[in-house]
């Protein structure tokens, strides 16, 4: 067998004259350079600047209106149907003394206690429903804009703060406690302090926000926020629907969508609001009648066996 002359080592050429491996090297090199650039930018710039300053920002009139004047047809169309995000109703307590407060007219009426914090993403989700439900019994003023923490789960969930909110109703009184803001201090490893509950409110929080009264909780979850006591006759600990529902949406997008009963986001918020309204109607002796006998609230009452 004749020996072939040894093949001369020739660089492999591409059809256009470039070496065959050039494309590989360029492509992989480009990715490595981009990742390296990102790491360098990250190291130089440090943590992203927080989008929150802790400064109170009042909610604009349009958003408040969208939030508090939702068409009745939306409440009734949604009822308790939230096909995308499951919604849990408040838990009814038995044999507990009614928690009351004095309204602006001096009347003793059932009291709603909310304990939460601005950084808390679950509070962020729950406030939407709570504001909407209570707006069917009275009037809100002083609501502020906020978002949940930018470094916690469900980061930057758009919501409202009860920090300077005031609620007027002839049926109910409301006390909101925002314990911490959403500005994280890396030195103290906590958020800035805002409000503290009164001793009486703390006693309610300590007593009812426990697995003893909320069977779906474990003892490790005792003291979770948000916590709501509806006259000590109903309690809600944690969000009634996942904050993931609100992910990627701005406050104004969510608020504008509240008039659309077909939106899955609206369905979750309104279902939660209808459940809460049904519980509130139980406290107000089914007043106002047009709210407490509306189809959406009746559907919630039926599901809650009220």
């Amino acid at each position: 067998m004749a020996n072939k002359p040894p093949a001369k080592k020739t660089p492999v050429k591409a059809n256009n004259g470039r070496p065959a491996g050039l494309f590989t090297w360029i492509a992989v090199g480009l990715v490595v350079v981009v990742v390296a650039a990102l790491v360098i930018v990250k190291v130089i710039s440090g943590s992203p600047t927080t989008t929150t300053t802790g400064t109170f920002q009042a909610t604009d009139a349009t958003t408040v209106s969208q939030l508090t004047t939702i068409p009745t047809s939306v409440f009734d169309t949604v009822g308790i149907s939230s096909p995308v995000a499951p919604v849990s109703p408040p838990i009814q307590l038995k044999g507990q003394p009614l928690l009351t407060g004095t309204n602006a007219s001096g009347a003793k009426v059932p009291k709603i206690l909310y304990v939460g914090a601005e950084y808390c993403p679950f509070c962020a989700a729950q406030r939407w429903s709570t504001i909407i439900a209570l707006s069917r019994f009275g009037t809100w003023t002083g609501l502020g804009n906020t978002t949940s923490s930018s470094i916690d789960v469900y980061a930057n969930t758009p919501t409202f703060t009860f920090l300077k909110a005031s609620y007027k109703s002839k049926y109910l009184v409301f006390s909101g406690v925002e314990e911490l803001n959403n500005v994280y201090n890396p030195t103290t490893k906590t958020y800035g302090a805002l409000q503290q509950p009164t001793a009486a409110e703390q006693a309610i929080f300590s007593k009812y926000d426990t697995s003893k009264y909320i069977k779906t909780m474990t003892p490790a979850d005792n003291g979770s926020i948000p916590f709501e006591s509806l006259g000590n006759q109903f309690v809600q600990s944690g969000a009634s629907y996942t904050p993931a529902t609100l992910a990627g949406l701005s406050r104004s997008q969510i608020a504008a969508g509240l008039a659309d009963a077909t939106s899955p986001v609206t369905a979750a918020i309104i279902t939660s609001a209808n459940y809460e309204t049904a519980a509130l109607c139980n406290l107000t002796k089914q007043q106002p009648g047009n709210v407490c006998t509306s189809p959406g609230v009746l559907a919630a009452k039926k599901a809650m066996k009220l």
């Binding site: 492999v12 591409a14 065959a20 492509a27 990102l38 710039s45 992203p48 789960v153 990627g248």
Partner: protein, 162 residues
């Protein structure tokens, strides 16, 4: 004349198939975590590595679709395309699709890495696993893809012609 794709080395078939299966496993886990809640993921929940913060961030959705679901869809297709049967496909466009998919996947991974580093400020362990698998697939496919698709002459063809 119909275009035809050139055969590739066995190592590339084995490597891409195994990498695709690994990516599929990771993306299934992340998709379950997306729907069952971030606490499902066995991952640190404090410090820079925090899967829950990443997988619940606004950037965990792309055009309204969970990124975990997009990753799952990507690797389901990749497993099919990178299977020994996929590599043996006679249709040129099957191989072109594989190449385009890995390029798109790599570009998307770069966006996700930038989101983790510069916006979310946290890193998700399993997402990083998916990113590494995608990068490894990218390296293999940009190595064999151009020659296979006839965009360059492969070394074996060059040697054969000598």
């Amino acid at each position: 004349m119909a275009r035809s794709a050139q055969p590739v080395g066995r190592w590339a078939v084995v490597a891409t198939f195994l990498l695709s299966l690994l990516g599929l496993g990771l993306s299934i886990y992340l998709t379950i975590g997306h729907f069952r809640g971030a606490q499902f993921l066995a991952c640190s929940d404090s410090g820079v590595v925090n899967c829950a913060v990443v997988t619940t961030s606004a950037q965990s959705y792309f055009l309204g679709i969970p990124v975990a679901v997009l990753g799952l869809a990507n690797f389901v297709i990749m497993v099919v395309l990178n299977s020994p049967w996929g590599w043996r496909a006679k249709n040129y466009w099957v191989h072109a699709a594989r190449f385009v998919l890995v390029m798109g996947g790599m570009a998307f991974v770069l966006w996700l890495v930038s989101a983790e580093l510069l916006i979310i400020d946290h890193i998700c362990l399993y997402c990083t696993g998916v990113h590494i698998v995608t990068f490894a697939l990218f390296i293999v496919l940009v190595n064999v893809g151009p020659a296979q698709l006839g965009w360059t002459r492969s070394a074996s063809r060059e040697r054969a012609s000598l």
